[in-house]
Amino acid sequence: MPGPYTKTLMDPLIENNPVTLQILGICSALAVTTSLLTALVMSAALTSVLVVSNGAISLIRNHIPSAIRLIVQITIIASLVIVADEILKAYAFETSKRLSVFVGLIITNCIVLARAESFAMRNPPVPSLLDGLGNGLGYSLILIALGSVRELLGAGTLLAVAVLPTIRQGGWFEPLALMLNPASAFFMLGFLVWIIRTVRRHQVEEPEFRPRTTGSKAG
């Protein structure tokens, strides 16, 4: 029987995944998954920001006036994002240039604010840190899956190492240019949600409206 801490950490991985169940953070998930490396770096940046922001907000949660609650949260998140961005520019310059604005846009990533507002404001620091880590890893899982498939099928490489020899290099593999377009990430995300909800049927949402012809009232 897993303890409550294990549940806090493991739940957001698949069961309550922020991307595939709550459909949050889609913008960056589409933008940075053209290659595995950018997906990994973005995942690391978001996970660290999420863990630290959850921890910091949880620490001061009992002293945040409700009138300025959101602004305090955003200030903390924004500062952490700037720090993450500066660190990337210092230690991973090339990748940070490919990620361009998307690291800065973690500020507006719904996952971070959602976890701060719905979890860290109501729970002590340790569960909040675990919740941040769990949700960060859940986001990372999706990004890494998308990034791997898109880089593999779009360029025949993984982490810039040739896996499928492309025709241009004298091999047999014709890269699918579509995979490098943002639209392909939408399709793949759709398939992923479909697969998860086929296996875990309880994730399927009740339709908001039912057609009149069935005779039943809108539920």
């Binding site: 002293h63 945040i64 602004i71 305090v72 200030t75 903390i76 720090v83 500066e86 520019k89 310059f93």
Partner: protein, 260 residues
């Protein structure tokens, strides 16, 4: 406990009702302060490494520019030049020298007299960093940083000259904010390739190099970009400024004399 004890005040603050005005202001202030400290500490600590990364990128860009123009770039030597005299300044480290910062520092820059300021710069640094390639002890390539006012932004680029100091090997702009699809096309390789083997000046004369209005005529001109007359004029002006007496003129004169 004395009223001067900060712990007392801290406890008092924490004990205040959360939605009171004092607490709201205090929390806002403290969060802002803490965030500011975190951000500025990170920024100050990481700046040297970021500068190094940018510098490495700048070097790579110069090597790429030169390689694209004339094949293998080979090792380039960076030198800081005093523009007024055209002499090298060995006391300034070319790795850390930042021409843009120097141009904004009154102690290390001069105001350009209005009649000489055709590139619209206002001030320029006393020094500039150039890159040389030597073959058998003779300079066969020199890369000069050039910049000036375009249509609605400052255009930054590098101009590579051959060993006669009168023939363009390549011109490449790497930073500009002119109209996309028009003036911004100065960054396109196809247009930049036009500059190859253009001449700067006739014998002993002042720079005649220019972007033509329309089709280029003669060895000093390249084709203008339609719809980007003002950007083209800006390119002409900045090249003439930097190749003229107030720019790299003294350096180029000295190198021509030494080379002959």
């Amino acid at each position: 406990m004395g009223k001067l004890n900060p712990v007392y005040w801290w406890r008092l603050l924490l004990g205040l009702p959360n939605d009171g005005l004092t607490k709201t202001l205090a929390v806002a202030l403290l969060v802002a302060l803490a965030s500011a400290i975190v951000v500025s500490t990170a920024s100050v600590h990481l700046r040297p490494m970021q500068e190094e990364n940018r510098e490495r990128e700048r070097q790579a860009r110069i090597v790429a520019l030169v390689s694209a123009a004339i094949g293998d770039a080979g090792p380039l030597i960076a030198r800081v030049v005093e523009l007024r005299t055209g002499r090298y300044s060995p006391d300034i480290d070319p790795v850390t020298f930042d021409q843009r910062a120097a141009a904004g520092d009154p102690a290390r820059s001069i105001a350009i007299p209005p009649e000489a300021d055709i590139a619209g710069l206002g001030r320029r640094a006393n020094h500039a960093r150039v890159f040389l390639r030597e073959v058998n002890g003779k300079i066969d390539l020199i890369v000069l940083p050039v910049y000036g006012q375009g249509y609605q932004s400052i255009l930054y680029g590098y101009l590579a000259l051959r060993g006669d100091f009168n023939t363009v090997a390549a011109l490449s702009f790497y930073e500009q904010g002119d109209t996309p699809g028009m003036g911004a096309r100065i960054t396109e390789a196809a247009w930049q390739a036009n500059w190859r083997d253009r001449k700067i000046a006739d014998d002993g004369g002042s720079p005649k190099i220019a972007v033509a209005r329309g089709k280029a005529e003669g060895p000093y001109e390249v084709d203008g970009i339609s719809g980007a007359t003002r950007t083209g004029q800006g390119v002409t002006n900045l090249l003439r400024y930097w190749l003229g007496n107030h720019g790299f003129g003294p350096l180029l004169d000295r190198l021509r004399k030494e080379g002959s």
